[in-house]
Subunit: 409 residues, 2 copies
């Protein structure tokens, strides 16, 4: 038997039939018309946003669309956050419908001229990733006769300890090295751009508040040093994100309040050069991951050489990360449950596999579950981020999963 | 510096500008209208099919659509092979337009009732994966008043040594254990089905001819034993596939002729019970992988802490496997080249990264290349199988890659 991750707090204490936003799992299937499907509970996202606001009242909150670009969810979140962070022209177009361009920033190491022109034309902020990109943005601004809004993305010389995905402290395609950042600020200001500040992202999916506190303090110090060097006050410092969620057995939730308290103190004592700056934190996964549930129905129950398999009708074509094939070295089990038997004790050890004709399509590896049969629904949790949009939907020609928003309206 | 895999023979000796099917890489970009794009050279697929036919003249050749379902490619291949193997209702619908239903077989561990009904209604063969699925197929056949064509997929008690993806010799969601297969043959025959034989798939992506020969011999022996036990002659024995292609440094091409020679001998001496059987080999990757090239343009060239990055406009959203995030434990470099400098010596060590805002998006990790600049095209080879259709195309909102077929017409 291998352990599964912890259920999000909104689901951990349910017994009997799984309810999402007050409606039973089968109710959601009826609304979707078929399995498999994703359900996103907006109330859970709202609770995360409220928790962030309470913990960090002075900090702007940005939503990183890449975590979940579902239009309904994006529209709702857009009204609750201060900014939207996008990573492609497609995401930029989606964001423009939701938020004023001045509240949108665009990061990404490979922005093409057409993407730069779209952003500059719309008035969004470009998080510039290199000297070459800055030069292209300035030239495009000149050609369009629009003053480009440019922030400098910095490859920090610190990394986020314990993060699932390190993006600082090493050679990186993201941003310019800290030693060259102040010079680039001077270049873009001299080039006539509206300089918007710094974007500094050191890593993601960290659960250790101490590590985040430490990284934020180092990021703040770096921003102050760069502002001094550049001789200019950054209007906004995007401190990055990195707030993780507990996916796997043994993971503990991030103590966001501890992060907020430490950041509040650090900001109160910040160097004079940053006195007039605003600060933002950019979150994707932490806001939406726990709000999503993936529901898939058992098609077959079978035995092979002493192992029991529950074959479900959805798999890595919709939930690649849950199969352990996206950014993980060792496959571990996401939290999952039988939707009809929440809170029930385990009767047996089974493997939950998807319908794809590949051994990679495994959603639960030797997990302990109550007895299940064909027709039962399996719920995979933590499906709200990097699920539907981050999976190879066309692989093997199955239909896409439905995506439903539970918005309490 | 880390090594890259070997270029396919059709490209390995080119110098200067990369040509695909006689046209330059930039020509293909012009036809596509933009980068990034996949080009599939049908002549290379035809060469692989011809090589197979010469090596194994008595064996049916099936194409496993999952490797590349591009409609033009599928249509062309359909006319050159004896059967199409599908793994979903979507693939079945695509195959029905290309090949008579009697030449189509449908495998997959989680077939739903609607998928079974579609296959039975069309007259395709179902590779039955469990006793439960067999019972459902028989019931649906009765309801539709159509005799279902059923083959038994067997989880073999042998594995394919050295295969990248083992699918036999262990507990498996695929097929029924060998010890129960003969009983299931009797059940489906007694239930009125048209029993089509066995489907036995022991693994994939093997480069060692000796291992494939050994597995095929064991598979043949297993089929004979099961036929004896079942008291019936299988019309067709699908011996599986498993023919690999060299992706990585040190990989050597599979000696297909050695496999064919050994299989020919084994078949000449096969047990009497299989005297009236046909035999098929099911190939996907080996037929199409080397025919595909992914072309992506350098958007930026940048330095960070002593490392040089070439940022290209396509990445894991189109070519997940090349980024090392699909079915691989240790990331290794696919073969790649500068499309304008084929055969040129290396000037420097660089990393080739895609445009996605994630460190996972790396197509070449510290590879040796001639000097390259923004605007140059990078070619990633081995892009014909498990590329466009097996990647998270929606991730981060970039457009899909174009897919072009070079068909010499």
């Amino acid at each position: 038997m291998k352990p599964t991750g912890p259920l999000p707090p909104e689901f951990a204490h349910q017994t009997g039939v799984l309810h999402i936003a007050g409606r039973s799992a089968e109710d959601w299937v009826t609304e979707a018309g078929d399995t498999p499907l994703f359900v996103y509970d907006l109330a859970i996202v709202e609770a995360r946003i409220a928790r962030f606001r309470a913990a960090m009242p002075a900090i702007d909150l940005h939503y990183a669309i890449k975590a979940n670009p579902h239009p309904g969810l994006l529209g709702a979140i857009g009204g609750l956050v201060d900014g939207l962070d996008v990573a492609s022209a497609g995401e930029l177009r989606a964001a423009i419908g939701v938020k004023p361009a001045a509240a949108i920033s665009f990061a990404g190491p490979g922005k093409r001229d057409d993407e730069l022109a779209l952003a500059i034309g719309a008035g969004a902020t470009l998080n510039v990733e290199s000297e070459g990109e800055a030069a292209r943005a300035l030239a495009i601004g000149e050609r369009l006769e629009i003053v480009p809004r440019l922030a400098i993305r910095v490859n920090p010389d610190v990394e986020l300890r314990g993060s699932g995905m390190k993006m600082g402290g090493r050679p990186s395609p993201f941003g310019v090295d800290a030693v060259r950042a102040a010079a680039l600020v001077r270049t873009v200001r001299a080039g006539g751009a509206d300089w918007r500040g710094f974007h500094i992202y050191a890593g993601s999916q960290a659960l250790d508040a101490g590590a985040i506190v430490e990284t934020q303090a180092a990021t703040l110090a770096l921003a102050a040093r760069l502002a001094d060097e550049a001789g200019a006050v950054p209007p906004l410092v995007n401190l990055g994100g990195g707030f993780g969620v507990p996916y796997f057995a043994g993971d503990r939730p991030l103590a966001v309040e501890a992060v907020g308290a430490a950041l509040g103190e650090a900001l109160a004592q910040r160097p004079e050069v940053l006195a007039g700056s605003r600060f933002a934190i950019e979150l994707g996964r932490w806001l939406v991951a726990e709000a999503g549930v993936y529901l898939t129905r058992i098609v077959d129950r079978k035995e092979s050489q002493g192992e029991t398999f529950l074959v479900v009708d959805g798999g890595l074509n919709h939930q690649l990360a849950a199969s352990g094939n996206f950014g993980t070295v060792v496959r571990r089990n996401y939290p999952l449950a039988l939707a009809s038997r929440m809170g029930a004790g385990a009767d047996e050890t089974v493997s939950v596999v998807g319908p794809l004709c590949t051994p990679l399509d495994r959603l639960g590896d030797r997990v302990a579950l109550p007895h299940a049969a064909a027709g039962d629904l399996v719920a995979i949790f933590l499906a709200g981020a990097y699920g539907a949009s981050a999976s190879p939907a066309a692989f093997l020609g199955h239909p896409p999963a439905a995506e439903l928003l539970a918005d309490h309206c």
